[in-house]
Symmetry: C2
Subunit: 320 residues, 2 copies
């Protein structure tokens, strides 16, 4: 939970005056999100999200993220749309930060994942991948296989503080991933952070996806691996094959995946586990005292990694 930048009422009123969205009647900082400051803004014409982009987001990446949201919305994908101010721009500045007003998306993210959520998610992710194919900007994934070793190097002296065997496990796993990582697979724009708190539902229907601030060009199947890890493991660490099967098969109904993708899935899921294990480990070890955001447990992703390490073929995910 986080609001890093305090916006004053006067600054906000000035900022909103550049848009055709009526007058501000209320705004409240939202205790969700880790990277940016978000306010729920209410005006005489409705509800909006005001986002101030904080230091962890590179300013040069913002046109890609904002552009991708605009592109998806234009393709009919349910996601927040950056609003254009009267001068036609979507990205402005507020309190010395890049800032945007984004449309408000109804729905709630599911705290307890049920199989139907995974089925809905599979379809939505496939639609997102297809819709992204006509988006012409590029952004390299800054947290892919080549980026993991530097992260590991910066953590390895203290990895034993989290788990005594973690250092060796990561060293071996990185060797494996670096040699086995595929060089070519169907790819395009990935969400790359589609955790349950970024997917909203109304009743049993997915109502939209949010938080495109890790979006990047990468293998589609890697994005699926991220979702598999984020949605199909229970709190006790067990893998729910029913959820996985529903997610993957509903994805496949919308965007068929190739033999190569299917075959690579266990490796990509391992890579995705390592990506979140390493960033959580880094945040855990470098967590400033008194920080507003509680770091997430890296060991959750060690368990997920170890599950995928013993997978021999994608049949273990409920696919034939």
């Amino acid at each position: 939970m986080a609001v890093y930048t305090e916006v004053s009422d006067e600054e906000l009123i000035d900022f909103v005056a550049a848009y055709d969205i009526g007058d501000v009647v209320s705004y409240k900082g939202i205790a969700e999100g880790v990277e940016n400051s978000n306010y729920l803004l209410q005006t005489t014409s409705g509800s909006f999200i005001l986002t101030l982009y904080e230091k962890r987001v590179r300013e040069s990446d913002l046109p890609y993220f904002i552009g991708f949201m605009e592109h998806l919305a234009a393709q009919g994908i349910a996601c927040p749309t950056p609003l254009q101010s009267r001068d036609g721009t979507t990205l402005k500045r507020l309190c010395q930060r890049p800032a945007a007003i984004i449309s408000f998306l109804e729905g709630m993210w599911p705290r307890r994942i049920q199989p139907f959520h995974c089925a809905e998610l599979g379809t939505a992710l496939a639609r997102l991948h297809i819709a992204g194919s006509s988006f012409d900007m590029q952004r390299k994934n800054g947290l892919s296989v080549r980026d993991w070793r530097p992260l590991y190097e910066s953590c390895k002296a203290r990895a034993h503080e989290v788990d005594c065997g973690l250092n060796d496990i990561l060293a071996l796993e990185l060797d494996h991933l670096e040699t086995q990582w595929p060089s070519a697979l169907p790819s395009g724009v990935c969400h790359a952070d589609l955790f349950p708190d970024n997917v909203f539902f109304l009743g049993d229907k997915l109502s939209g996806m949010i938080d495109f601030y890790f979006a990047c060009n990468d293998f589609f199947a890697y994005d699926l691996g991220i979702c598999l890890n984020a949605w199909c493991f229970e709190r006790d660490g067990s893998f729910n094959v029913t959820k996985a099967q529903l997610m993957l098969s509903s994805y496949r109904k919308t965007r068929a995946f190739s033999e190569e993708e299917l075959h690579a899935l266990p490796l990509l899921a391992r890579g995705s586990a390592v990506r979140f294990l390493l960033t959580r480990l880094y945040d855990w070890l470098n967590h400033p005292e008194g920080a507003l955001v509680k770091p997430k447990d890296p060991l959750e992703y060690l368990g997920i990694l170890q599950f995928h390490q013993q997978i021999k073929c994608p049949g273990a995910y409920g696919l034939e």
Copy 2:
């Protein structure tokens, strides 16, 4: 900023089903407030605040707080109104906590106080005091003169960590306040925590007051002292007599105060400064590491106390 209790989507939907406010379409934890967990809840019929009462609020006090809000709303005072569920109750339970849905109040609290804010506040406080006279429940102020010494005793061994002279200043001041504190003055229900973040404005008009969870029966002029301290000092510690004069004279136009109240004001303002100095000192010294809420600076209130110590008569507040 704080959301202490995480409410799941399923629990929330069940909870809201007991009310006639339509279906939930969104809810977001609000990064404001220190004592309780607050969510901004949107349903098919509008916006509401869901409050879960946390441990610092005594459950036995809730009927008084809720009752007072209902009473004020019925008297036409702009404040949040607790909603009745279908069974007629306003206070229910959610996630093992007492919980209520409260009407949503439009407006923004002022970050930079201007004189007109103080004029508006004076009128609103006087109207609140008058409206409370027909409220028949009682609640003793748990943070008044008799409660300061125990707080001081629990802090004095470490008060020097905050300021080397603080211990002596507080010891002398408590002696003075305990002997001089008035035994009888016009009294009734006070808000007792009417800081700028609890008062909303739309443009230059006060749109409502919130957060009645310190409300109690006490001297009206003590409530004024709290407001004087919270609204009329600049960030550099200087006292803005224009603001004070506007606040007090607009109060007086709505509820005339007696000679005794006027005379007691400097002492009551000192007491109010000690009350916030002590609770801030306590929170500062007992701030758990990694807590979600950053403690407020006690020394701000030491400066305010020292200002009032050298006041000889209420004329210093701009009154004749």
